[in-house]
Amino acid sequence: MELHILLLFMILAAIIAIEIKDLLSSVIAIGSAGFALCLAFLILKAPDLAITQLVVEILCLIILIRATIRKDLPLIIEGRWFFNTISTLIFIAAFLLFAYYALKELPSFGHPMMSVVKKYLEEGTSKTGAVNLVTSVILDFRAYDTLAEATVLFTAVIGIMAVLRRKGRKEISEKDEY
């Protein structure tokens, strides 16, 4: 029941974030949706995820506010209304069609398929020595996944530094010649 309320709150916050005119208000609405997601993880018995989501949400809010603060807001008039709406509706309808087919194959809520995890649950603590089974999965059974995650994160940092870099010495001297 709590989950239903939280999900409805998240949908409301998402609609407000998409539709409101002021960009700062929209960023704050998306932040509230993120904190509701954090609570939902806590109810779904995933404390590690709740902690990570909390930290990541705060960082995301800081980054988003940095992007939107003190920027003027030109009035955006929606052009090509008909074409845009039709294409959006086609995409959403395609998604809902595939979701309908997938929904019949999914296990019902509260009864997951534990075929892979059964072994991890039985042998996780004795094999890896980690009391927290999520830790034993990410750092031992699927450690390559975590390695790739770190690679992706540092690649993103390199990308940000390359994009946000100020102009180098060479470019300024070239500009002086013209």
Binding site: L3, M10, I11, A14, I15, I18, L23, S26, I30, A33, G34, L37, F41, L44, K45, A46, P47, D48, L49, T52, Q53, V56, I63, L64, A67, T68, K71, P74, I76, G79, N84, T85, T88, F91, I92, F95, L96, A99, L103, L106, P107, F109, P112, M114, V116, V117, Y120, L121, G124, V131, N132, L133, V134, V137, I138, D145, L153, A156, I160, L164
Partner: protein, 112 residues
């Protein structure tokens, strides 16, 4: 089952924001909403009724644990989502510095 459908509705709201809005910040926010709904969907798939968190404790009454595998995968996904958001926002800031607007239809100098 209702929870899955609510999760899909959340995904559709994000998809609408990505496809329909013309402000770059709104598109990034739509991406964030899609990411939230996917993470929540994975964790919902691994939830077991009357389960407990996948942590071994000394004196435990409930024996059923929830599925730790989706939680581990989503932990990776959340951190990568932060990287994606930061990269996209930095590109948006650069575009704003160059063109003075977030409107994607005003950014025309990329066209040939």
């Amino acid at each position: 089952m209702t929870l899955y459908i609510l999760c899909f509705i959340l995904f559709c709201v994000g998809l609408y924001g990505v496809l329909r809005k013309r402000n770059l910040v709104k598109i990034i926010i739509g991406l964030g909403i899609i990411e939230y709904s996917m993470n929540l969907f994975f964790v919902l798939l691994g939830y077991r009724l009357q389960g407990r968190a996948p942590i071994d404790a000394q004196h435990q009454d409930i024996l059923n644990m929830v599925d730790p595998l989706p939680q581990a995968v989503v932990l990776t996904s959340i951190v990568i989502g932060l990287g994606i958001t930061a990269l996209v926002i930095s590109i948006a800031i650069r575009i704003y510095e160059k063109y003075g607007t977030f409107d994607i239809t005003k950014i025309r100098r990329l066209k040939g």
